[in-house]
């Protein structure tokens, strides 16, 4: 059997040079990550011709909805305004998007607002369906948002409350006094985002181990790569992998 180099000489077929790391014990080399964490292709403009990637990604500012909102949304707002004297102070913004009503609430008022929403006869949001966090890193100064989905079983309505806190002061009152079901869900939001719910009966981690450091769902939480037992190689973390951004 002829060696590759001989064949190269004989037939003129080009043979690629041996990759670094294949012949020696040197670690395999990876191209450096491109600037701004845009993945290993490093393509800043759009290199494609299909028209897909050329679209500029825009984040529309959240717009305050104007009356009438339509549907039951006006009724909910009016009832809340009537039942809750501090409405003007507590509600920062009312947003109607994709057929859903969102009330942006000042964080320190969230438990009060929930209490009124649950107890007022015209509102009756008996069930707190979901509490979750969203980290709007870079888009909002108070980047940690806590999102509550309330359901009124009497009127068959839903409303979303959103309260924003900053990483420096991630405190807001717990709603467990109003909705005991928020217990575990607030613990999850604390575990994943580091939002501190004051007045929660035992705010501890729930999904991650008790001695875990950091809050994994935050957008600036460092992602780990996967070490591979091959010449010190490592699969890069997901935000550094070759991909179309």
């Amino acid at each position: 059997m002829t060696a590759p180099n001989d064949r190269n000489n004989d037939g003129g077929v080009p043979v690629p040079t041996t990759p670094a790391g294949a012949s020696s014990t040197a670690p395999a080399e990876y191209p450096p990550a491109s600037p701004a964490g845009r993945g290993m292709f490093g393509n800043q403009g759009s290199g494609d011709v299909s028209g897909f990637g050329g679209l500029v990604r825009q984040r529309k500012p959240i717009e305050e909805a104007s009356r009438p909102y339509g549907g039951y949304f006006d009724e909910v707002r009016d009832a809340l305004e009537e039942a809750y004297p501090a409405f003007g102070d507590a509600i920062e913004k009312v947003v109607v998007d994709r057929g859903e009503l969102t009330l942006h609430v000042r964080p320190e008022r969230i438990a009060e607002v929930c209490q009124v929403l649950r107890d007022d006869l015209a509102l009756r949001f008996e069930l707190c369906s979901s509490v979750s966090g969203v980290d709007y890193l870079g888009a909002d100064e108070r980047r940690l948002h806590v999102v509550y989905q309330l359901t009124s079983m009497t009127y068959r309505r839903r409303v979303r409350l959103e309260a924003a806190v900053s990483v420096e002061d991630p405190h807001l009152p717990s709603v467990t006094g109003v909705y005991p079901t928020a217990d575990w869900q607030e613990r999850e939001a604390y575990d994943m985002f580091g939002v501190v719910f004051d007045g929660h009966p035992s705010l501890t981690r729930i999904l991650m181990p008790d001695d875990w450091e950091g809050h994994p769902q935050r957008k600036d939480y460092p992602l780990g790569g996967v070490p591979v037992e091959y010449k010190g190689a490592e699969i890069p973390p997901p935000d550094r992998r070759r991909s179309y951004q």
Binding site: D48, F52, E100, S129, G133, V134, D135, Q149
Partner: protein
């Protein structure tokens, strides 16, 4: 050598040896006085055959009576929600289906409905796709309830119920395999429709199943409903009334067994459920017995729904018409298994460069979803399964949160167990039907 709370390690000639000490368990034990104290602390789980997966219960017992119960979860946390943020919107289906592994089609449908709402294409999803979704979900509800019946039967001493339950579930998994190619974790319901059409062979199988199942249901009832042990173990056990359910956020069969007919298919319909004819079974006792009857009745209602969905299946597309969203290729079975159809491959490789580019971009990069947030709730076999999805306008989810009924319902376990007997912890926990894959995500 390092020391840790959980495992010490030392080097030996064979390699590293870890000595697992059992976490913080010794601290919990040292807090009690086993000789003078009447109370003992029992750690049930995380590896315990009757806690439905890796659920850990810490029980403080006085004799046989449970004084305090606390559940510890998180042993099956796999970071699915975080992982979704690094995959495109379509790839999300393959992740969410693995959350609650007994009701994968509900996870997928909830996700697909949320993405469609974000895209604003809810009305464009074809009728056939929606009907197939209903068909699949209702079959899945039956298979999930069968597993509940099987495992609960086993935990309360009816081993044969376990065999029967899993036997009939196998029929449904067979149907799923014929339609989706997989028994579990299907990734079949995709944003915009479903992955592929239902083959005729599957329709015949479902019809057979519809004939078979009522007989089997009667068999289960003959086996359990009059059984004195079954009645003793379930009646007046782990009672939770409507007030407690609402306070603790418990939905699904547990809430309905307490008497409130709250079923999202009726109260906040989606996927056209308002056009189907079915009842919402309820019970008034709010105990394990009531939950058993409600679930059995729900299987019957699901059979009705499956039959209606089958009758409605009219030929037509199963994906939205928008080529910027729909998966570019229809799937087909080839010699090497399921894959893109040969016709499509021939077209993109031999005829149309533009089609190739389109396929490549849509598959690797994915479609963009306009910024915003939505919440979609559907009725899973365990209760309200909610998806809160946030988009920043990119090709990947910015944040997806699942309101998992297993997670929320499990909070009710102390309320059910405290003051009762230790054996009833098992019955109460089983009656909640928690699936830890969904609970921990």
């Amino acid at each position: 050598m390092t020391t840790s709370n959980y495992a010490t390690e030392r080097e030996t000639t064979e390699g590293k040896v870890f000595t697992v000490t059992g976490g913080d368990w010794d601290q919990v034990v040292s807090g009690t006085d086993p000789i003078n104290d009447e109370r003992i602390v029992v750690n049930m789980g995380p590896q315990h055959p009757s806690t439905h997966g890796v659920l850990r219960l810490i029980l403080e017992l006085e004799g046989e009576t449970v004084r305090e119960a606390r559940s510890v979860i998180g042993y099956l946390h796999t970071g699915i929600e975080k992982n979704l943020e690094y995959r495109n919107w379509v790839q999300g289906s393959t992740f969410v289906t693995r959350m609650d592994y007994l009701s994968p089609l509900f996870n997928e449908t909830a996700y697909a409905l949320a993405v469609e709402k974000l895209l604003g294409i809810t009305d464009e999803v074809t009728e056939r796709a929606t009907t197939i979704r209903v068909l699949m979900m209702e079959l899945n509800r039956i298979s999930s309830h069968l597993v509940w019946l099987a495992t609960t039967g086993m935990e309360l001493g009816a081993i044969n119920m376990m065999l029967y339950g899993f036997r009939e579930r196998e029929y449904i998994l067979d149907i799923f395999e014929t339609i989706t190619g997989l028994r579990m974790n299907h990734a079949y319901v995709r944003p915009g429709g479903v992955a592929q059409d239902v083959p005729d062979e599957a329709i015949a199988k479902i019809r057979d199943f519809l004939k078979l199942m009522p007989k089997k249901l009667k068999e289960y009832e003959d086996l359990l409903s009059g059984q004195p042990i079954w009645i003793e173990r379930t009646k007046n056990v782990a009672v939770l009334d409507v007030t407690a359910c609402l306070a603790l956020g418990v939905t699904g069969p547990v809430l309905r067994s307490a008497g409130l007919a709250w079923d999202l298919r009726k109260t906040m319909p989606y996927c056209g459920y308002e056009t189907y004819e079915f009842d919402v079974p309820t019970h008034t006792d709010g105990d394990v017995w009531g939950r058993y009857l409600v679930r059995l009745a729900e299987i019957r209602e699901s059979l009705k729904l499956v039959e209606q969905a089958l009758d409605r299946l009219k030929p037509g597309p199963v994906m939205v018409a928008d080529r910027k969203i729909a998966w570019p290729a229809q799937l087909a079975i080839g010699v090497d298994g399921m894959g893109n159809s040969l016709e499509h491959v021939a077209k993109i490789m031999g005829q149309s460069m533009e089609s190739l580019i389109h396929h490549f971009k849509l598959v690797t990069e994915g479609f963009r979803v306009p910024p915003g947030q939505v919440y979609v709730g559907i009725e899973s076999p365990r209760g309200e399964l909610g998806v809160h999805a946030v988009s920043d306008g990119g090709t990947r989810p910015y944040r997806v949160h699942y309101r998992e009924p297993s997670f929320v319902n499990l909070q009710a376990l102390p309320a059910m167990a405290e003051g009762g007997l230790i054996a009833d912890v098992i019955a109460g926990g089983a009656s909640l039907d928690p699936v830890m894959g969904g609970c921990d995500r």
